[in-house]
């Protein structure tokens, strides 16, 4: 029999949501955490304290680079801002530099190397969100792009499938099995629907040139020419070989900040430093506008005078910049950032409840629910291993930051490895237990790990939650309170699952007796 349109959409919604649902869960969870990547990094480097002055930081960065990266052709400097307290430096090595010589450093506000633990910080969670890990970046971005397409299909088909989207808008019934999971899925999906649509669509825009290469290939002979047109970096100036000191970078930072009405500085690019042909490009802080690409001013590196502004951005470039800005939320103040975070959590819960709903719905139709078929068992174990296992990995990542030896070689990599070790252990544990026990025990473990984070931090560093609260240090206190809240949520889940599972056999007996 021919299926109706809504039934076809329901089928599409189910399978587009399930096939890459586990990956989408991880992408959503990391993307949500990434809204606070700077704050997470600050928590993961407790040795770094205080705020920095961007002007002093710029001059300090130049002093350090002149002494430690002589002969380099390019410097990239990210200044501290309202959220980050350190200056990040990247440079291309000098032609005569030995192989493997360093190309990056982190400085404090005065231009001294930061004496802080090595960490992958919040930046790893941000990159993992679209670059994944242990695989080539290009492959990862294709996979994430395809997952985002599936997500968009799942959202649109879900809207069409949901017959009573407005009347069911506020409906959340607990303790009703499949109905409760469906309500949970609907509530988390519908309440933040504008966010889910926006974040998925703009996520695809961020990967636009990768996922849609044909228009670029039709217009440009090479990818380099496309990038030169799309993201102009000013005229390329050849090195003259004539030494000339760089003008005060702090003064250029002050000028740029004045032009942008105090919007703040994002990052600085210096080409040919120490040469008569030095150029400085200063880009405004990401928080200054919805456009993630910001505005750029160019200066003559020797005189420190501003150069002619290039051609203004076209509407397509501005649209793309605003879409990326909307996705990344870098423009957002603290309150709006929390709204992004809560909406991201709802998105993560929407994917999680959708995955669980798939099994709950099908369990009732199984010929023998005690012995489900292989496909069902795979989905069930993947659900436990990802929905509870991945948060266990995240908690392990944060705990590893506090527990790994400070001087450990490749410490940041070990932190990342800890995440995957914790996650893999949770996965293996879920395979060894019955699904019901797996859910309860791993939820309880997850709760314990998250609740332990503030405690372990207090025992291993000079900072603790009560002191942070008293000092009004909201970055530290906010992070640790969030960890406690997530721990509390998993503790509630474990308790609820335990209560439900202890009632289930009695209900089952009741159902069996009823017909007699």
């Amino acid at each position: 029999m021919k299926q109706g349109f809504r039934q076809s959409m329901a089928w599409l919604h189910t399978w587009s949501g399930l096939l890459l649902g586990w990956l989408l869960f991880v992408i959503f969870a990391c993307g949500t955490a990434a809204y606070f990547q700077e704050e997470i990094t600050r928590w993961m480097q407790p040795e770094v304290t205080g705020a920095s002055d961007p002007v002093a930081a710029a001059d300090g960065a130049v002093r350090w680079l002149e002494a430690n990266a002589p002969g380099s052709g390019d410097w990239y400097i990210t200044l501290p801002g309202k959220r980050a307290a350190t200056t990040a430096l990247y440079w291309s090595p000098a032609p005569d530099a030995p192989a493997g010589s360093p190309t990056q450093a982190t400085l404090d506000g005065e231009g001294n190397p930061v004496a802080a633990r090595e960490t992958a910080g919040g930046f790893f969670l941000y990159r993992f969100h679209f670059d994944l890990h242990y695989m080539p970046v290009l492959w990862a971005r294709y996979i994430v792009g395809i997952a985002a397409m599936f997500m968009l299909v799942a959202i649109i088909s879900g809207i069409i499938t949901h017959k009573k989207i407005f009347t069911d808008f506020f409906m959340l019934r607990f303790g009703k099995g499949q109905r409760s999971w469906l309500d949970g899925h609907n509530v988390t999906a519908v309440l933040a629907l504008p966010f889910h649509l926006m974040i998925t669509y703009t996520g695809l825009v961020t990967l636009g040139s990768l996922l849609s290469p044909v228009p670029i290939a039709a217009v440009y002979q090479s990818a380099d020419r496309y990038y030169a047109d799309a993201f102009p970096q000013g005229d390329t100036v050849e090195r003259t070989g004539k030494a000339a000191p760089l003008a005060s970078l702090g003064s250029m930072v002050r000028q740029a900040d004045h032009v942008w009405d105090g919007a703040g500085i994002g990052y600085i690019y210096v080409s040919n430093p120490g040469d008569a042909a030095a150029r400085v490009s200063i880009t405004s802080a990401p928080s200054s506008s919805l456009d993630a690409r910001g505005q750029t001013l160019e200066f003559d590196g020797v005189t420190g005078r501003p150069l002619d502004a290039g051609a203004p951005k076209g509407p397509a470039q501005t649209t793309e910049g605003v879409m990326i800005g909307l996705h990344a939320g870098r423009y957002a103040d603290s309150a709006l950032r929390w709204l992004y975070f809560i909406s991201g959590l709802l998105g993560t819960a929407m994917v999680g409840t959708g995955l669980v709903l798939w099994t709950v719905k099908r369990r009732l139709k199984l010929p023998d629910p005690a012995r489900p078929h292989l496909g069902f068992r795979i989905v069930e174990r993947l659900n436990i291993g990802v929905i509870v296992g991945f948060p266990i990995g995240l908690a392990t990542y944060f705990l590893a930051n506090r527990l790994l030896p400070i001087k450990l070689v490749e410490r940041a990599d070990w932190e990342i490895d800890s995440l995957f070790i914790g996650w893999s252990c949770a996965f293996l544990f879920s395979l060894a237990r019955s699904p019901r026990r797996g859910w309860i025990e791993l939820s309880a473990l997850c709760a314990a790990l998250f609740l332990a984070i503030p405690l372990v931090s207090a025992l291993t560093t000079s900072r603790n939650l009560p002191a942070s609260l008293l000092a009004g240090d909201w970055i530290f206190a906010g992070f640790e309170l969030t960890m406690l809240a997530i721990g509390g949520m998993f503790a509630f889940l474990a308790w609820k699952l335990r209560v439900t599972s202890s009632l289930a056999p009695a209900r089952e007996r009741g159902r069996r007796k009823a017909p007699a």
Partner: protein
């Protein structure tokens, strides 16, 4: 900060009014069904509050940010409404149960 607080309160009030205007949730919220006129007034009031919230956001920031803020605070307002409706419904059901059955739990 005042802008954020105003938007939160207006969005929460708007969604509560929209929710209260739907027959399905009135028992949970009020313990009885409202008549058609009251329901319509609540729904119109809800939409008016959402429009007011948007105007507040527009005046307090700009058109683009007002749209984003409204989307964000609407989510929080709607979440609060869901919480209140769910609590109200649970309390009503608890109240409907005979005394003995509550004690036996």
């Amino acid at each position: 900060m005042i802008l954020h607080l105003a938007l939160l309160l207006l969005s929460a009030a708007a969604f509560l009014a929209l929710c209260a205007g739907l027959k399905r949730y009135q028992r949970g919220l009020f313990g009885r069904q409202l008549d058609a006129r009251q329901s319509r007034t609540l729904r119109i009031g809800g939409w008016a509050l959402l429009a007011t919230a948007f105007l507040f956001g527009w005046i307090g920031s700009d058109f683009g940010r007002a749209m984003i803020l409204l989307a964000g605070y609407s989510t929080i307002g709607a979440l609060l409404s869901v919480f209140l409706v769910t609590r109200g419904e649970a309390r009503r059901k608890e109240g409907d149960k005979p005394r003995g059955s509550r004690e036996s739990r």
